[in-house]
C-alpha cells in the first residue's frame, strides 16, 4: 500500500532521513520507534506530503504523495504531534471545519461527526469550547478530527504525549478498532510499551536510518541473549560486576548495570553468586528482553537519552 524508496531528506547540513526504504501492507499497524530527533516526524511529514524528499519516492497505492496530488492525499489522515485544533471553537465546529475541508457536506458530514463523538466518548461535550477541554480530551478530539473522511492510511505522530492513562487507553482502544476495520496505521512513538502493545510490525529508527524492521518477536530473536538482569551501580555491586564479566555482557547506563548472561550461564548460578557476596535479592530485577533491550543493543543508548 505505502512504498518509500531510498528516501533522503536534509535540512541544511543535517540529514534527517538517509536512504530510507519501507513497504507497508494494507491493514498493518506499523510502529515507528525512536528517540527525539531520530527522524520519525520527518518521515511522517514526507508521507503526509508536507515535505518533499531530496531523493527517493513516496507512493500510496502506486500514486505519488505530493502536495499537488490532492486525490491521493484524501486517502490519508494525519494526527499531528501537537493538538492541532482551534481552541476558540467548539468541538463540533472544529470537526465540521475539518470535515468540510475534506469535502464532506450535509447529512454525511453530520453522521461522521456523530460517529466520531461517540467513538471517543465526547458526545456530551460537543458544544463546549476546545480550550475548556482537558489535555486527554483534546488529544481524543485531535485523533478523530483526522478520521472524519475515513482515510485508508492514518499517520499518528506521537498522539499520546502528555495524555492521562484513561485517555491513553481510550485512544489505544479506538486505534485498535480502526485497525481491525482495515485502516492502515503508522504510529510514531518513543514509548516502547505503546509499540509493544499496538503494533504488528515495528521499525527502529535513529539518526535518520531504519536500524531494524520486523515484528516484536523478530526483533527480540535478533538479540544475542535471552535474559537480562538489572541492578544499581553501587560500590557494593562493583565486585559483582567484575566477577560477572566472564559469564556474559555488562552494560552500564544511567547508574544501572545490565547483565546479559551467556546462554550457558544459568540465572540460578547468578543468584548463588549474589548470595555469596551478601547482596540482597531486592537489588536485582530479572526480565525478558524488551524493545528497550533491542534499541539499546542496536544503538548503545536508551530511548530517552
Amino acid at each position: 500500500m505505502l512504498q518509500l524508496r531510498s528516501v533522503t531528506k536534509r535540512y541544511g547540513p543535517l540529514t534527517a532521513l538517509d536512504d530510507v526504504s519501507l513497504d507497508l501492507a494494507r491493514g498493518e499497524f506499523f510502529g515507528l520507534l525512536g528517540p527525539n530527533g531520530a527522524g520519525k516526524s520527518t518521515l511522517m511529514s514526507l508521507v503526509a506530503g508536507l515535505r518533499v524528499p531530496e531523493a527517493g519516492t513516496v507512493m500510496l497505492d502506486d500514486e505519488p504523495l505530493t502536495a499537488s496530488h490532492a486525490a491521493a492525499r484524501r486517502n490519508l489522515g494525519l494526527v499531528p504531534q501537537h493538538v492541532a485544533l482551534y481552541p476558540e471553537l467548539t468541538a463540533e465546529e472544529n470537526l465540521r471545519i475539518f470535515g468540510q475541508l475534506q469535502g464532506l457536506r450535509g447529512s454525511l458530514l453530520q453522521a461522521r461527526i456523530d460517529e466520531a463523538f461517540a467513538a471517543v466518548q465526547l458526545a456530551d461535550r460537543r458544544r463546549s469550547l476546545v480550550r475548556t477541554f482537558s489535555g486527554g480530551m483534546q488529544r481524543r478530539l485531535n485523533l478523530v478530527a483526522a478520521l472524519l473522511h475515513q482515510p485508508k492510511l492514518l499517520l499518528c505522530d506521537e498522539p499520546t504525549v502528555g495524555v492521562d492513562p484513561q485517555s491513553r487507553h481510550a485512544i489505544f482502544e479506538y486505534l485498535q478498532h480502526l485497525n481491525r476495520a482495515g485502516v492502515t496505521i503508522i504510529y510514531s512513538t518513543h514509548y516502547m510499551e505503546e509499540a509493544e502493545r499496538l503494533c504488528s510490525r515495528i521499525g527502529i529508527i535513529d539518526h535518520g536510518r531504519i536500524l531494524a524492521l520486523g515484528t516484536l518477536d523478530d526483533l527480540l530473536t535478533r538479540l544475542p541473549f535471552e535474559d537480562e538482569v538489572t541492578f544499581p551501580s553501587t560500590p557494593a555491586t562493583a565486585a559483582l560486576a567484575s566477577q560477572l564479566a566472564a559469564h556474559g555482557e555488562i552494560v552500564a547506563t544511567n547508574g544501572t548495570q545490565r547483565f546479559r548472561p551467556h546462554p550457558s550461564y544459568p540465572l540460578s548460578a547468578f543468584f548463588t553468586l549474589t548470595e555469596s557476596l551478601g547482596l540482597p535479592p531486592r537489588l536485582f530485577v530479572s526480565q525478558r528482553p524488551s524493545l528497550e533491550s533491542v534499541f539499546l543493543d542496536l544503538t548503545g543508548r536508551t530511548l530517552r537519552e
Partner: protein, 468 residues
C-alpha cells in the same frame, strides 16, 4: 475556492468567539477616538489653544499699554495674570522680578513685559520683552504667534503713536502741533469733519479713523473709509468669509481676508481627518495581530493538519487576506459610525465613495498584515515589527499630524505609505465631499499598494518557513 471560504468562515467564527479580539478591534479604538476627541477639543467650536497662563507686567504709562492688555484679556488663547497677592493678601501689580520668579518656579511659562519705553521717541516702533520658560517648544511658538497676532491685529495704533512721538522729538512740540494742525485742516477742507477732532486723532497715532460706526457727532468721518469698507463687504462671497478683527484703520494697512473654499459645510472638520487617520492606524494593528495568528496555527500543528488534507498554502493565505479585508471594513465602518455619534461626522452623504476608500484601504492594510507575517520568523517578531512599522507609518503618513507640516523628505516618503493614501481618501470624501468617481484615483493607488504588497508577501511565504 471552497477551501478558502471554509477557512475564512473559520477565521470569522474564531474572531467572533474571542472577546479579547473584539475589544481590541472595536472597543479600544472607539474609546481612544472619544478620548482623543477631548484631547484635541473636537467638541469645541474653536480648535485653538485656550487659557494659556500669560503674566503681564505693565511698566508703561502710555494709555495704549492698557489697551493692549485689554485686547490680550479678550483673546481666549490666554489667561492673563497681571497681579499678585502679598503675604497680607493685598493684590498689587506684577513686577518684572515677580514674573522672573514665577517663570523659574513654573507658575506660568510665558510673560510679556510692557516696559516704560514701550513707545519711545529714540527709535521707530514698539518695544516689548517676552520672557519664557519654554518647556514645550511647540507651545512657546504657538504663544508667540498668538501674541503677535493679538498685538498687530488689535492695537496697531501703537505703531502710529510711536511715529507721532518720534515726529514730536524731531519737530519740537510747537512745530509738531502746527504740522498736525495743517494736515487736519487740509483733511477737514477736503473731506469735511471737525479739524480739531481730526488733529486729535492724528496726534493719538490713529491716522485712519475707525471702520466701525462713526461717532454720531461727526458722521463725515465715514467718508474716509466708507467706500472701501463697503467694497470689502461686497467682495465677501459667503457668510463663512472672515476678516481680520482689527477695529482700527491702521489695522487695514495689511489686510487679510480669509475665506474657506472647501469643507465649509463640514460640521467637525478636524474630526474628519482625525477619525480617518486613527481608523487606519487601529486597522493596521488589528490585521497585524490577526497575521500573528498564522504562527499560532503553525506552532499548534494546524497547518500540518490542513496541508495534509486537500488544502494548499494559497487557500490559507487568501482566506487570511479576505478575513483581514472584512475585518478592516467592519472596523472602519464601526469607527466612522462612532465618529458620527461623537462628532457629527457626515458619513452618509457620500456613502459610496467612503465605502470604496474603506474597502481599498482595508485591502491594503490586510496585505500589509500578510507581509508582516511573511517576513517575520515567529509571532513575537511579527508583533514587534508590526508595532514599529505601524507607528512609524502612521506618523509619517499623516494619521497623527498634517503631512504639510513635515520636512520635504518626509512628505515624499509619506506618499509611499498606505496610511497617507487612506487618510487622503477619507479626507477627500469627508472634507471635500468628493464623489465615488472623484476618489477612484485614490482607490486605485490603494488597490495597487494592496496588490504589490500581497505579491511580495506571497513571494516571501513561498520562500520562507511558515508552511515548512
Amino acid at each position: 475556492m471552497s477551501q478558502t471560504l471554509i477557512l475564512l468562515h473559520k477565521s470569522l467564527l474564531t474572531f467572533r468567539r474571542s472577546r479579547a479580539a473584539m475589544v481590541i478591534t472595536f472597543l479600544v479604538p472607539i474609546v481612544l477616538i472619544y478620548l482623543f476627541g477631548h484631547v484635541f477639543g473636537l467638541y469645541r467650536k474653536d480648535f485653538g489653544p485656550t487659557g494659556i497662563p500669560l503674566a503681564v507686567v505693565n511698566a508703561s504709562v502710555e494709555p495704549a499699554a492698557q489697551q493692549l492688555i485689554d485686547a490680550l484679556k479678550a483673546e481666549s488663547a490666554f489667561r492673563l495674570i497681571t497681579e499678585r497677592k502679598d503675604p497680607a493678601g493685598v493684590s498689587r501689580p506684577l513686577t518684572e522680578a515677580d514674573v522672573r520668579t514665577g517663570l523659574r518656579e513654573n507658575q506660568y511659562r510665558f510673560a510679556l513685559i510692557l516696559p516704560a519705553d514701550l513707545l519711545t521717541e529714540k527709535q521707530l516702533g514698539l518695544h516689548f520683552r517676552f520672557l519664557t520658560n519654554p518647556r514645550n517648544e511647540i507651545e512657546a511658538q504657538t504663544v508667540r504667534g498668538v501674541l503677535q497676532k493679538t498685538i498687530f491685529s488689535n492695537v496697531p495704533q501703537l505703531l502710529g503713536q510711536a511715529l507721532q512721538k518720534r515726529a514730536k522729538k524731531f519737530l519740537g512740540a510747537e512745530r509738531f502741533d502746527q504740522f498736525n494742525g495743517t494736515i487736519a485742516g487740509a483733511v477737514s477742507r477736503a473731506f469735511g469733519g471737525d479739524a480739531a477732532r481730526i488733529q486729535e486723532e492724528i496726534a493719538s497715532g490713529n491716522f485712519l479713523p475707525s471702520a466701525g460706526p462713526a461717532p454720531a457727532a461727526d458722521p463725515t468721518l465715514r467718508r474716509l473709509d466708507g467706500p472701501t469698507g463697503a467694497a470689502v463687504a461686497a467682495a465677501s462671497p459667503a457668510p463663512a468669509a472672515a476678516t481680520s478683527p482689527s477695529s482700527d484703520g491702521l489695522g487695514r494697512l495689511v489686510r487679510f481676508e480669509t475665506e474657506q473654499v472647501a469643507g465649509k459645510e463640514v460640521k467637525n472638520p478636524m474630526a474628519a481627518r482625525l477619525v480617518g487617520g486613527y481608523a487606519i492606524m487601529f486597522l493596521l494593528f488589528a490585521v497585524s495581530g490577526s497575521a500573528s495568528a498564522f504562527f499560532q496555527e503553525k506552532d499548534s500543528g494546524v497547518f500540518q493538519r490542513l496541508l495534509a488534507s486537500p488544502v494548499r498554502p494559497a487557500h490559507i493565505l487568501w482566506a487570511r487576506f479576505l478575513f483581514g479585508v472584512i475585518l478592516g471594513l467592519v472596523q472602519i465602518s464601526t469607527l466612522f459610525l462612532a465618529g458620527r455619534w461623537f462628532f457629527g461626522l457626515e458619513i452618509f452623504t457620500h456613502a459610496g465613495a467612503l465605502l470604496a476608500v474603506a474597502l481599498s484601504a482595508a485591502a491594503a492594510c490586510s496585505a500589509f498584515g500578510m507581509l508582516i507575517a511573511a517576513v517575520s520568523p515567529n509571532a513575537t517578531a511579527a508583533s514587534g515589527l508590526a508595532t514599529f512599522v505601524v507607528i512609524s507609518m502612521s506618523a509619517v503618513g499623516g494619521a497623527w499630524f498634517p503631512v504639510s507640516f513635515m520636512p520635504d523628505t518626509i512628505q515624499a516618503i509619506s506618499k509611499l505609505t498606505l496610511v497617507y493614501w487612506s487618510v487622503e481618501g477619507f479626507t477627500d470624501v469627508l472634507w471635500a465631499g468628493r464623489s465615488f468617481l472623484e476618489v477612484l484615483p485614490n482607490v486605485g493607488i490603494l488597490c495597487g499598494i494592496a496588490a504589490g504588497v500581497m505579491a511580495v508577501a506571497i513571494w516571501r511565504f513561498n520562500r520562507g518557513g511558515l508552511f515548512a
